[in-house]
Symmetry: C2
Subunit: 251 residues, 2 copies
């Protein structure tokens, strides 16, 4: 049995003030913080360099593997360390938090999960878009845009998502925007459905583009939206133009 503990901590969307009180305390108290680039420069910049260990994709040579990170967490815990594993957003929303959790338990390491603000909800709302609304959306689905929707073996069923009638939020959704907007229209979604793109939500460099399923690819290119960004699809995306003049969240 180990004496150390691993804290699986989400950093939120990027604004340091959107860390939870608990995340801030654990970062201060930790012996070591394992992170990649996703928490962003404002949050990482506040952590003393000697307490940080970069385990991002390129930190230890070509493609630091999830196996390396898993083993390093166990090793540090067995040395009795208080370790924070810091992730962008919430660690259990398209992060590998679930895999790390199971690896820790299988190796007898005590751990704690510290929930965070997810960009999937924060991104739309700081742009003036609620992910649900009584009149527009009685459900919201988060899905990753990393997969190619034209591949037969795609794990994401865009037809089923279109049929839910709820809001769809696509994370990491910039590059394949043309493919999945097409897939949703082919599945019967109205081409006039409002769509918004939010790049680097809550960062100084935040950018937003709006349009419809039919026009959002052009809007993306005009505004120059680049990864990381998320896509909000559904009637709720139309609320941005109704509130933008009085919304103080704009960067």
């Amino acid at each position: 049995m180990s004496e150390g503990t691993v804290y699986l901590v989400g950093s939120g969307p990027g604004d340091p003030e959107l860390l939870t009180v608990k995340a801030k305390r654990l970062i201060e108290e930790a012996d070591l913080i394992l992170h990649d680039k996703l928490p962003g420069p404002d949050i990482l910049g506040e952590i003393p360099a000697e307490k940080r260990e970069d385990v991002g994709k390129r930190a230890h040579g070509k493609g630091t593997s999830q196996e390396y990170i898993n083993d390093r967490l166990v090793e540090l815990a067995h040395e009795g360390k208080r370790v924070v594993r810091l992730k962008g957003g919430d660690s259990m929303v398209f992060g590998r938090g679930g895999e790390e959790m199971i690896h820790l338990a299988e190796n007898g390491v005590d751990f704690e999960v510290v929930p965070a603000v997810t960009s999937a909800i924060a991104g739309p709302e700081v742009a003036g878009i609620p992910v649900t609304h009584r009149d527009h959306a009685s459900s919201v689905t988060f899905v990753t845009g990393h997969e190619d929707p034209t591949k037969a073996e795609s794990a994401v069923d865009w037809e089923a998502l279109a049929a839910t009638g709820g809001t769809i939020v696509v994370l990491m959704g910039v590059t394949r925007l043309p493919e999945y907007t097409e897939a949703l229209m082919n599945a019967g979604m109205d081409p006039e459905t409002p769509v918004a793109l939010v790049e680097r939500a809550t960062w100084d460099a935040q950018q937003v583009a709006t349009g419809t399923l039919a026009t959002i690819v052009d809007a993306r290119d005009e505004v120059g939206i680049e990864p990381p960004a998320l896509t909000v699809i559904g009637g709720v995306a139309g609320s941005r133009e109704r509130v933008a003049d009085f919304l103080n969240n704009e960067q």
Copy 2:
């Protein structure tokens, strides 16, 4: 034009340490905090009584209306006040944050949205359940369990939700659990699909029950799960038993 500002602030799932740093600061700086019971006693108890105004359902006689709250926010802003509208969880996830935002903008009131930790993600994860997992779920859908799924005009299409193949999280999902688990099995979901119920996530009184689509109603009654609670449906719910012995989040 008003000189005051309204901050639409989520309180997170209930643990005061899961407030964001920003929410904590705004609560301290606010002239007045409008709230209902949902932030929970631990968070509300830390706010001086003279700064709190209860606008919960029964605060101003039978059923304080959303219209009353909307008008009160505008009135206070026009008096130049810094007002925090404090909601449980995140204010844009099955709250009325979207409606309040539009009402404020239409009445010329400056506002800001302060994202929060949503119980919909935090609840599962503090119980050892990631809402997504590479092997089990490439999407997650949040839906409200308030509606009667046997009603023809139900806004929630359980058949479409079952077809997504992703995790389903039902908020306010205790009472109608028998109806929608039945609806999902009728839509073709495997009766052996893992299901977990999490009551009062992150509160001292947190309780968890686990089972399958076929058995969860009995598990609910055995453990005595009562509202407020959420339901996690999908392969990810099976991870709880693999990690529970080393999970320090248990209350």
